[in-house]
């Protein structure tokens, strides 16, 4: 994937570029907002990572200008600001996701992955039935079956599974789950998400040979069919 990094902090930019290249992405970098806007509008960039505070052209202004020209590429905003309302401001300006510094690379990679496959997820959202191996989730009847056997889930477990299935094959972090399923934007002190995942795992994997819900060490969880 072709990713544009617009970040004025050279150290952070270089590490980010290196890490993304290592996982196989093509990277372009810009150190200020104007260069970033130029690169983002003229090239076949698939995704942009934009720092919020940039010289010459502010990160939010960059995203707004980009959206004003009709460019639809996914944009992840990185912010070193105070938080709480900044996230909403960032998303309103046209950002697709928002991450506060300092972040774990695993978190950023998982979000980039989710953003780049947003098109697939959108298509999946249009389907009433989501499938992974022998696991099937019907969003209309709110029925979940595995290998034809009905699985009883609470409303929240259903939502959690739906989110995981929409991102099947990807790594989903705890923060992404807390944001996507519960709409909370803070880090709980306790392992709340882990407990919910382990309950979901009990429900969908316990009576079956092949587990579908995997823990990804140091990153989060992934729902996938293991080889």
């Amino acid at each position: 994937m072709h990713i544009l990094i617009v970040e004025d902090d050279e150290v952070a930019r270089n590490y980010l570029a290196k890490a993304l290249r290592e996982v196989g992405h093509t990277i372009d970098v810009a150190g200020n907002g104007l260069d970033g806007l130029q690169l983002a509008s003229s090239m076949a960039v698939d995704l942009a990572i934009v720092d919020r505070m940039l010289p010459k052209l502010d990160g939010l202004a960059l995203v707004q200008s980009l959206r004003a020209t009709g460019r639809k590429l996914p944009v992840l905003i990185l912010s070193a600001l105070g938080d709480v309302d900044d996230r909403i401001t960032g998303l309103r300006a046209g950002g697709d996701d928002y991450l506060t510094k300092p972040y774990h690379m695993a978190e950023l990679l998982a979000r980039i992955d989710a953003l780049s496959r947003r098109g697939d997820a959108g298509a999946a959202a249009a389907n009433t039935k989501l499938r992974l191996a022998d696991l099937e989730l019907d969003r209309m009847t709110r029925r979940v079956t595995r290998n034809g056997k009905k699985i009883e889930l609470t409303a929240r477990e259903f939502q959690l599974l739906e989110f995981m299935m929409r991102h099947s094959g990807q790594v989903v972090t705890r923060t992404m789950l807390l944001e996507g399923v519960w709409d909370y934007h803070f880090d709980p002190q306790t392992n709340v998400i882990d407990v919910h995942i382990s309950r979901l795992r009990q429900a969908i994997d316990k009576d079956f040979d092949k587990p579908l819900l995997h823990t990804v060490r140091g990153a989060g969880y992934s729902l996938r069919e293991d080889e």
Binding site: V11, K18, G82, D83, D85, Q189, N191, V192
Partner: protein, 461 residues
């Protein structure tokens, strides 16, 4: 506002009261002025008729001495018929009080003890009907037991006096009514302006510092006041924006190096084997970065809550508490802690959902952290009592952990206070401080109490 309330509001408004006081003062002035005129005029009118009668009596007394009775009777008849002397009345009676001459039909009944002046009523033709007219007269004896009565019709004088009296009453009533009407009009006007001002003030208190008081194109006190308050608001907005800028740059200047630290540690770790001692050191570094980040997040959120610049919206507190209960219950059950909850429906507050969620999550985190395995946690949301105008919802979180001693409840709400007993538990020590800041931002009251055993935290909106 209900119409009745609005009416009472007008009655209670200061311009209305001022208008009432003024109209009473003006009415008193009108009474004094018109009263003086009334008395002066009636004095003058009374005096002139009395003088007229006195002169006539004097004249007739002289005439009776020089004229024969028949000439005198003729004189009386003449004067009675004289159209030029309008309103003059004469009556001459014989010793049996039978009328001899004059234009009054009968001798009036006169009380014995009455003085020189008498007053009586006489029916006089008035177009097709007759009217009772008030007469004022003097009487004097004539030779031979005859008696004479000379007087004047004072009905007109009475009418003028009555008219003046009515005018006086009307003027007073009119002054009072005008004062009342003006008071209501002014009261409503000022009330409307004050209402607009307090509506804006409410919005400002909810955190929308860009709002300004409405100012009309006039130089009255309210407008001057509104202008001055707006100037003050400009200053406050400037200061708050300044605070935010400081917070943002502090955040930026701390997050940027933390981010570099995290990135370099992660980059260095990638090339190391999972068991190498260097890797373990770097993992410690990233753990510390995480720790600093959560402390920084908490501090920034506390500071933001305290500047009051956080955006507010209606928050469905019932849904929020229910969802947090649902998020946390499994964790506590995992540890054998019984988690009970009673959540009233329909509780709503104005505020920041994220900050409220964080604050309540901190309470639940704490409860779970400090409650021993097999303990109890109770969460209660009470809605606004039906029919009660005041008193918002209340959220209560109770645990049966060690609790907080009564003398230390105040201090734990300050920044970074962790009681010695709590040091064995992980955490930044900012949890309750954030709860306190968020509670204050929402105009709620935070009470720490003994749940006997354990801690009882109540947020009363």
């Amino acid at each position: 506002m209900e119409p009745e309330q609005r009416f009472l509001g007008v009655l209670a408004s200061s311009p209305f009261r001022i208008a009432i006081v003024y109209s009473i003062v003006f009415a008193q002035g009108a009474v004094a002025l018109l009263g003086a005129v009334y008395f002066a005029v009636s004095e003058v009118v009374d005096r002139s008729t009395d003088n007229l009668i006195e002169a006539e009596v004097q004249g007739l007394r002289e005439q009776v001495l020089v004229l024969s009775r028949s000439d005198f009777i003729e004189l009386i008849e003449q004067r009675s018929q004289d159209q030029d002397v309008r309103g003059a009345v004469y009556l001459m009676v014989d010793p049996q009080l039978r009328p001899v001459a004059g234009n009054v039909p009968a001798w009036p009944k006169i009380a014995a003890d009455q003085g020189k002046w008498i007053q009586f009523k006489v029916s006089v033709p008035y177009g097709d009907e007759t009217r009772e007219h008030e007469m004022r007269a003097q009487r004097f004896p004539l030779p031979g037991g005859y008696r004479m009565l000379v007087g004047h019709d004072v009905q007109e004088r009475q009418d003028v006096k009555n008219l003046m009296l009515r005018g006086l009453i009307a003027a007073v009533v009119l002054t009072l009514l005008l004062g009342l009407g003006g008071g209501i009009w002014m009261g409503r006007r000022i009330l409307a302006q004050a209402g607009a001002i307090s509506a804006v003030a409410m919005q400002i208190m909810r955190g929308d510092l860009s709002q300004r008081l409405p100012v009309r194109d006039a130089d009255d006190e309210l407008n001057t006041l509104a202008r001055e308050i707006n100037g003050m608001l400009d200053k406050i907005e400037q200061l708050t924006l300044g605070m935010r800028t400081v917070l943002d740059s502090a955040a930026h200047d701390l997050r940027t190096p933390l981010n570099r630290m995290q990135a370099s540690a992660e980059a260095a770790m990638r090339d190391l084997s999972p068991t190498s001692p260097e890797r373990r050191v770097l993992e410690r570094v990233t753990t510390e970065v995480d720790h600093m980040r959560s402390t920084l997040d908490a501090l920034l959120r506390i500071a933001l809550a305290e500047t009051g610049t956080v955006a507010r919206e209606p928050v469905d507190l019932s849904a929020l508490v229910a969802s947090l209960v649902e998020l946390y219950a499994p964790v506590s059950e995992e540890r054998g802690i019984a988690f009970e909850s009673t959540v009233a429906a329909g509780a709503e507050v104005q505020g920041s959902r994220q900050l409220l969620a964080q604050a309540l999550a901190n309470l639940l985190d704490n409860a779970i952290k400090y409650t021993p395995d097999g303990g109890h946690i109770r969460v209660l949301l009470r809605g606004t009592p039906a029919g009660a105008a005041t008193g918002g919802p209340e959220v209560v979180v109770e645990d049966d952990g060690p609790g907080i001693p009564a003398d230390k409840r105040e201090i734990v709400l300050g920044r970074r206070v962790r009681l010695d007993e709590a040091r064995k538990f992980p955490g930044s020590g900012l949890g309750l401080s954030l709860v306190a800041a968020v509670t204050k931002l929402h105009g709620a009251r935070l009470v720490l109490d003994d749940a006997a055993p354990g801690l009882r935290v109540s947020l009363k909106f």
